[in-house]
C-alpha cells in the first residue's frame, strides 16, 4: 500500500445528511482517489411487509418508502394496481394527483436548496428556503391532512377533494413562492461566491450520466433530456405544460440551477392545473381482489424516476412488490463523482444527488455467478447478521427481540 495514501471512513453516523451510510474514502493529500459507497444500514423489509398485507394496507407502507417523495411512490403503486384491475381514474382525481405531485416537488427542491446551503456553509439560504418550504407544507397539510404523508391517493382515485377556499390559499402561496424563487434563481445565476464554490465540483459528464443510469435532476444537469412526466405521461401530465429543464454544467452548480428553475416550472404546472381542473367524481370503486398479472409503473419523483413492479396472483394481497426509488439509480455514479475532488467537497457532492438512504436499502445476496436459486429464511438471516457484527467486535446474540 502506498504510504502517502490514507483511507478514512465517513459514516455510518450522518456522513453528510441525517441518515446512515458509510463512504470509505481513500485520500492522497486532500484529493479523493477512491471512494466506496456503503449503503444498507437502514433496511426495513418493506417489500416483504407489502406482500404480507392487502392492497389497501400496502398503500400506507408504500407511502412511507420515502418521507419526501411519498406521494409519487403511492401514485406509482396505485397506477400499477389500477392498470391490473382495468380501472380508469376520474379526470378530477388525475388533476389532484398532479397538483399534489408538483407541490411535493416544490417542497422537496426547497428542502434540498436549504441542505445544499447548509453543506457549503451558507446557512442563511437554509433559513430562507426552509421558511418558504413551511408554506408548502401547510398547504399539503390542508389538502391531505398531514404535512409529509398526505395520504391523498387511494386505489381508484384520491381520498380528498379540492375545495374552493383551498384553491385561493394555494394561489396565494404560489404567488409568494414565485417571488422567492425569482430571488433564488438570481442568487444561483448571479452570485459569484456560490458559482465559485459549486462550479466544477462533483462532475458527471453527459456520457457518464447515461452510463451510470442517473435519473432526475442529476441526469438533467448533465444535459440528459429525461423526464418521465414527458417521456411517458401519467395521471394528467399529458395535458400539462411540462418543460424539461436541462443544464450543461455537469456539476453541483448545474444541479442547483436545474432545481431552482424546476421550482418555477412546477408553480406554472400547478397554476395550469388549478385553472383547468374538471368537475366530477374523485374516486371509482375498486375490487378488493386484483386479477392475476404483473405491471411496471413509472413516475417522476422530485429526485428522479421511481419504478414500481407489482405482481398479482388474483387474491387481495400482492405476490411480489418491487420498489426502485430514484436515489438507487443515482448511487451508481457517486464513486465516480467523488473521485478527483477534495475531501471538503465530499458532503456537498453526496448531498447534491438529494440522496435518500432508507428508500434504497434492500437485502440482497452476492452469488458466485453460477446461477441457482437461494432462499434465506429468517433464522439464517438472523445468524448471518449476528456473525457479521461478531466479526466486528459486537455480540448482539443476547439481544431479545420484542414480540408484539
Amino acid at each position: 500500500m502506498n504510504s502517502k495514501r490514507i483511507t478514512i471512513p465517513m459514516g455510518p453516523q450522518h456522513p453528510s445528511l441525517k441518515e446512515p451510510s458509510c463512504f470509505t474514502i481513500t485520500l492522497e493529500g486532500e484529493k479523493v482517489v477512491n471512494a466506496v459507497v456503503g449503503v444498507g444500514y437502514n433496511h426495513r423489509g418493506l417489500e416483504k411487509a407489502s406482500e404480507m398485507r392487502t392492497y389497501i394496507q400496502d398503500l400506507y407502507i408504500i407511502e412511507r418508502v420515502c418521507g419526501i417523495c411519498s406521494h409519487t411512490h403511492s401514485t406509482a403503486f396505485c397506477q400499477a394496481i389500477e392498470e391490473l384491475a382495468g380501472v380508469v381514474i376520474p379526470p378530477r382525481a388525475a388533476y389532484i394527483r398532479v397538483i399534489m405531485a408538483e407541490l411535493e416537488r416544490l417542497h422537496s427542491h426547497l428542502l434540498w436548496l436549504g441542505i445544499a446551503g447548509h453543506e457549503i456553509g451558507f446557512d442563511t439560504l437554509l433559513m430562507y428556503s426552509w421558511r418558504d418550504r413551511e408554506q408548502v407544507l401547510d398547504i399539503l397539510a390542508m389538502l391531505g391532512g398531514n404535512r409529509v404523508n398526505y395520504g391523498i391517493n387511494t386505489l381508484g382515485g384520491v381520498r380528498r377533494d379540492l375545495e374552493p377556499h383551498m384553491v385561493d390559499d394555494i394561489r396565494q402561496v404560489l404567488n409568494y413562492l414565485e417571488e422567492q424563487d425569482k430571488y433564488y434563481i438570481d442568487l444561483a445565476l448571479r452570485e459569484t461566491t456560490l458559482a465559485a464554490r459549486l462550479g466544477g465540483v462533483g462532475r458527471l459528464s453527459h456520457e457518464d450520466a447515461i452510463k451510470y443510469g442517473a435519473v432526475g435532476p442529476v441526469a438533467r444537469s448533465s444535459g440528459v433530456h429525461t423526464d418521465t412526466r414527458v417521456d411517458e405521461p401519467y395521471a394528467a401530465y399529458s395535458e400539462m405544460p411540462v418543460n424539461v429543464i436541462t443544464d450543461n454544467h455537469c456539476d453541483v452548480f448545474g444541479r442547483t440551477v436545474v432545481r431552482v428553475l424546476e421550482i418555477m416550472d412546477s408553480i406554472g404546472i400547478i397554476r395550469y392545473a388549478l385553472e383547468n381542473i374538471p368537475d366530477g367524481e374523485i374516486k371509482v370503486n375498486m375490487p378488493r381482489k386484483i386479477p392475476a398479472g404483473e405491471m411496471l409503473s413509472r413516475t417522476e419523483a422530485p429526485r428522479g424516476e421511481d419504478v414500481h413492479y407489482v405482481r398479482s396472483n388474483g387474491t387481495d394481497k400482492p405476490d411480489r412488490v418491487r420498489v426502485r426509488a430514484a436515489s438507487e439509480a443515482n448511487w451508481h455514479g457517486m464513486a465516480h463523482m467523488l473521485e478527483g475532488d477534495y475531501l471538503a467537497d465530499v458532503p456537498i457532492i453526496i448531498a447534491a444527488i438529494d440522496p435518500c438512504y432508507s428508500c434504497t436499502d434492500r437485502a440482497f445476496v452476492l452469488s458466485d455467478g453460477n446461477g441457482g436459486e437461494q432462499v434465506w429464511d429468517w433464522q439464517r438471516l438472523r445468524q448471518y447478521s449476528l456473525d457479521f457484527y461478531r466479526k466486528r467486535g459486537v455480540d448482539a446474540s443476547k439481544l431479545k427481540i420484542a414480540k408484539q
Partner: protein, 119 residues
C-alpha cells in the same frame, strides 16, 4: 446577466424587519386545520361490528369488541395510539360513519399503558 458577489446582502437586510416565521409553542397560537388527521374518535351508535376498519388498518391498531350479548350488541373501540399511523383508512372503510379523525395532535404521554385506550 452580470455576476457579482453579495447578491444576498440587500435581501438579508430586508429580513431584519420581517415578523418571525416561527410561533411560540406551546404558549402561542397553534393553527391546526379542521381536517387534520389527528386522534381518532368513535361513535358506537351506528356501529354494526362489521370489522372492516380492523381489516383495513395497516398498523393493526384497532379493535372492535362486542361487550353486549349476542342479541343486544354493544360495541367498544379500542385503539393503540403507539401503533396508529394516522392514515385515516378506517374512517374511509367505515360504511356507517362511526369513525372520524379529529385535529387533536397533542397526544404525548409518559406511560406506555396510556397509549392503549378505549375510544
Amino acid at each position: 446577466m452580470k455576476k457579482r458577489p453579495g447578491v444576498v446582502a440587500g435581501y438579508a437586510m430586508k429580513q431584519l424587519f420581517r415578523k418571525p416565521a416561527t410561533i411560540k409553542y406551546p404558549q402561542g397560537d397553534l393553527v391546526i386545520e379542521h381536517n387534520y388527521r389527528g386522534k381518532l374518535s368513535y361513535n358506537p351508535a351506528n356501529c354494526i361490528g362489521c370489522n372492516l376498519c380492523v381489516r383495513d388498518c395497516p398498523a393493526d391498531a384497532l379493535e372492535i369488541i362486542n361487550v353486549g350479548t349476542k342479541e343486544n350488541k354493544a360495541f367498544e373501540c379500542h385503539l393503540s395510539l403507539g401503533h396508529c399511523v394516522f392514515c385515516g383508512q378506517c374512517v374511509d372503510s367505515c360504511k356507517k360513519g362511526c369513525l372520524a379523525l379529529t385535529p387533536n395532535i397533542e397526544l404525548a404521554g409518559l406511560k406506555k399503558a396510556d397509549f392503549k385506550m378505549k375510544l
